[in-house]
């Protein structure tokens, strides 16, 4: 197989969709882009990027624990993500209020313990962790129909969660004290958000790999929040950016010799730089 990019977009599209593996990759990529970007928008607004990163690291102890116990790797990953989300959420409060300094310290500690546990399980297991490369760098090109369906189901669940909790979650993300005084269950929402974030991170990492989760989780939201402080527009831009990153990344990788991961991360980074630079220039011009 050696597809060549031609001058005719229709021919290119036909080439892109001729193999089922490529269709599955595009389907799965589209699904995780929507899920990760919406979860990421709230994560960036709430300043919980480090927590999101730590949840993605949970794949290491999760997968090695599952290998040790002879269970499916993804089961280990989802369980570790869930437990870590609850630990971070439950221990990041002082006097009933969110404490960002404490949250990042707790998150760092959780991350270190997770890595240590991962190494322990791995040496107890004694073997070589299969699919280690897929764990880190993803497996865009070996996705089955079953996986696409599972991802779609998780994504629907995550989106329903955000549709239901959207307003109180936004309220407590921006002004937790005022939200709490109005009867929003801020503590419970914090835990629920981290648990759902863990679910989204775990599901996304199955496709993009642990190292590239952030291309979809942080970059689109961070870029969109550079451009607008509007809620609906910001969310819409975030989704559009994530889709653009994944579609462009897959297409370019298909027509060239470099990997999906390279293109996805490079496009995500470039997007953030352009948005941030554009905002700075716009403010200078407005001030001048």
């Amino acid at each position: 197989m050696n597809p060549q990019l031609s001058a005719n977009p229709l021919t290119d599209l036909h080439q892109l969709l001729v193999y089922p593996f490529m269709v599955h990759a595009l389907e799965a990529g589209t699904i995780v882009a929507v899920m990760a970007s919406v979860a990421g928008w709230f994560m960036v607004l709430r300043r919980e990027t480090f927590a999101g990163h730590t949840l993605s690291v949970m794949s290491f102890p999760g997968a090695s624990a599952a290998a040790l116990a002879g269970l499916p790797l993804s089961l280990g990953y989802f369980s570790f993500c869930f437990v870590a989300a609850l630990v971070i959420g439950a221990s990041s409060r002082t006097a009933g209020r969110r404490n960002l300094a404490q949250e990042s310290a707790v998150t760092g500690t959780v991350q270190v313990s997770a890595l240590a546990l991962g190494f322990l399980f791995l040496s107890l297991y004694g073997g070589i962790l299969e699919n280690l490369e897929a764990l880190l760098f993803g497996s865009f090109l070996g996705i089955t129909t079953g996986q696409v369906e599972t991802l779609a189901a998780i994504t629907v669940g995550v989106l329903v969660f955000f549709a239901i909790t959207g307003r109180p979650l936004l309220f407590s993300s921006v002004d937790e004290l005022a939200a709490g005084a109005r009867g929003v269950p801020v503590r419970l929402l914090h835990l629920a958000f981290l648990a759902v974030l863990g679910l989204a991170v775990a599901a996304t990492a199955q496709i993009t790999g642990v190292l590239l989760v952030f291309a979809l989780l942080v970059a689109p939201a961070a870029a969109a929040q550079q451009l607008t402080a509007r809620v609906t527009l910001g969310l819409a831009l975030t989704i559009v950016f994530a889709l653009a990153i994944i579609w462009l990344g897959l297409t370019l990788a298909y027509f060239s010799v470099y990997s999906v991961g390279f293109y996805v991360s490079t496009i995500a980074f470039a997007l953030y730089v352009v948005c941030r630079g554009g905002r700075t220039v716009a403010r200078r011009l407005a001030a001048a």
């Binding site: 909790t165 307003r167 921006v174 005022a178 005084a181």
Partner: protein, 269 residues
């Protein structure tokens, strides 16, 4: 005579075995503009939390708008004590105000609720915030942020407004303008307004009543009666002097902070 908006009878609060204040009896009339004063740690915020139904009394009774604080909660706009939003908070003032209206509701907002949008605009006009409400809140000045937060507390059209140190992080000019704004809203909307403050002076010209929390007790009355050398000395159980400066400001001298006060009590039981 109409029933008082807020009424405490022989009330006491105990937190972790320590009595914050006791034997507190006070009445606040409908539509009054009231400052809650007292040294740090004396229990001013505790009083607000009791009135908001967040803390139970250990003795006595409390009623807010003729009901229990929990039942009255929906009628109260509340502005917590806070540090300013930092510059990277990416949400617009107008969205923050909207959250004050329906941010506690589950589910997606119905599209095109013009009624909600009108009320948000009305609250922003009331605080004279139209010029900056569409900027990101983190890019607004401290005074502008405070105005938008007041709009967020007002937008649900409460009957009372509680503000915890709303003047704290503001410069003198903004302290004056926010005070004038709050007083105007209190009078025009007939909204009972309770604000916790460090310094009575920016408020002095407007106040109907002060509630003074000190030495484990609470006293209330018109400022001229409460902020005097005799009354405060009795309340603190120490010699306090209230000085009047030539420009009409009050200076309270000899006011011990709450912790010194408590260690004194331990030394002389």
């Amino acid at each position: 005579m109409p029933p008082p908006a807020i009424e405490l009878r022989d009330a006491a609060v105990t937190l972790g075995g320590r009595t914050i204040w006791q034997d507190a009896t006070l009445e606040i009339g409908d539509g009054e503009f009231v400052a809650v004063l007292g040294p740090n740690g004396s229990g001013k915020s505790t009083l607000l939390r009791v009135l908001l139904g967040q803390l139970p009394l250990s003795a006595g009774t409390v009623s807010v708008l003729g009901a229990t604080p929990r039942d009255a909660k929906q009628e109260i706009g509340y502005l917590p004590q806070r540090h300013a939003f930092d510059a990277t908070t990416r949400i617009r003032g107008v969205d923050l105000v909207r959250l004050g209206l329906d941010g506690d509701r589950w589910g997606l907002p119905l599209p095109g609720r013009t009624d909600a949008r009108r009320r948000v605009e009305e609250a922003i006009r009331l605080v004279a915030g139209s010029a900056f409400a569409r900027r990101a809140i983190g890019e607004c000045s401290g005074g502008e942020q405070q105005r938008l937060l007041i709009a967020a507390a007002l937008v649900s059209r409460p009957r009372m407004l509680f503000l915890d140190e709303p003047l704290d992080s503001l410069d003198l000019a903004n302290q004056t303008s926010v005070t004038t704004l709050l007083n105007r809203i209190c009078r025009s909307e007939r909204m009972t307004t309770l604000l916790v403050a460090h310094d009575v002076n920016p408020l002095l010209a407007h106040l109907d009543r002060v509630v003074y929390v000190a030495g484990g007790r609470i006293l209330s009355g018109p400022p001229a009666q409460v902020i005097t050398s005799e009354t405060l000395s009795e309340l603190y159980g120490a010699h306090i002097e209230v000085l009047h400066t030539s420009d009409g400001r009050l200076v309270v001298v000899g006011q011990p902070d709450a912790h010194a006060q408590h260690s004194d009590q331990h030394a002389h039981p």
